[in-house]
């Protein structure tokens, strides 16, 4: 069963990769990177059970957090073209 899950995750990864390479807009690519991060988390979680070492789950949890913060930073960059921008100041002007 874990093998079937693993193959499913690999196929989804390939699809996300296609979307990241083909584009066409920036948001497609951002979404595909975010989705690829999620697939990484799933992959590590399934890998832990496949090889009888579920202690990999800690690693998967850390990846979720990194992926979330990374996506926020990317979206902020796309919106304001500056990582140090203050959103409220932008709204006022």
């Amino acid at each position: 069963m874990f093998i079937a899950a693993m193959i499913g995750i690999l196929v989804t990864m390939a699809l996300a990769l296609c979307r990241a390479l083909l584009g066409p807009t920036v948001y497609d690519r951002i979404l595909s990177v975010n989705m690829f991060g999620t697939k990484t988390v799933l992959f590590i979680a399934v890998l832990g059970f496949l090889t009888d070492r579920p202690d990999f789950l800690d690693l998967a949890l850390i990846y979720v957090l990194i992926n979330f913060i990374g996506t926020l930073a990317v979206l902020k960059f796309v919106t304001y073209n500056d990582l140090g921008a203050d959103p409220e100041e932008q709204n006022r002007t």
């Binding site: 990769l17 990177v33 991060g37 990484t40 990846y63 990317v74």
Partner: protein, 179 residues
Amino acid sequence: MTEILDIALLSFMIVLAIAVSRMQNLFMAAMMTGIFSFLSAIVFTLLDAVDVAFTEAAVGAGVSTVLLLGTLSLTTREEKIVKKNNALALLVVLITGSALIYGTLDMPNYGDPNAPVHQHVADRYIEKSGEEMGIPNIVTSVLASYRGYDTLGEVTVIFTAGIGVILLLGHIWRKEDEQ
């Protein structure tokens, strides 16, 4: 099963690497390197190097993508296209690549118990580090104590690099303030 996983992941990485090198838009390329780091983190996990995978995900996928985006916001988003073909650069890359591949031919097989890395000092660390250092984690006691001077050198290098970056960026910020 793990062989199939290795082949699939490594072929993803090859496709991504070619795509990144052919991309003109640097923002897209920065995004693709994020995916590349995730893939290499998975490969490290498959090789049982969980601590390296941890670092790769935190630094490669997290911080370095953000750092690349910060660089893009200070510079430009489009790559400058170099028209003239640089045969010398290609030659250097080919020689370096073949030297690296030649170097891997002498390496012992993965998981080989007779490999030098398992014969040299690893046994002593595993047996003695607990009572000598009093730290249950062997990796920590090797990094912080047995190779303490080495780690101190690494930290010095990173500290110097940080000072360099702050000096360079501080120059730009000061210019903006004056304007």
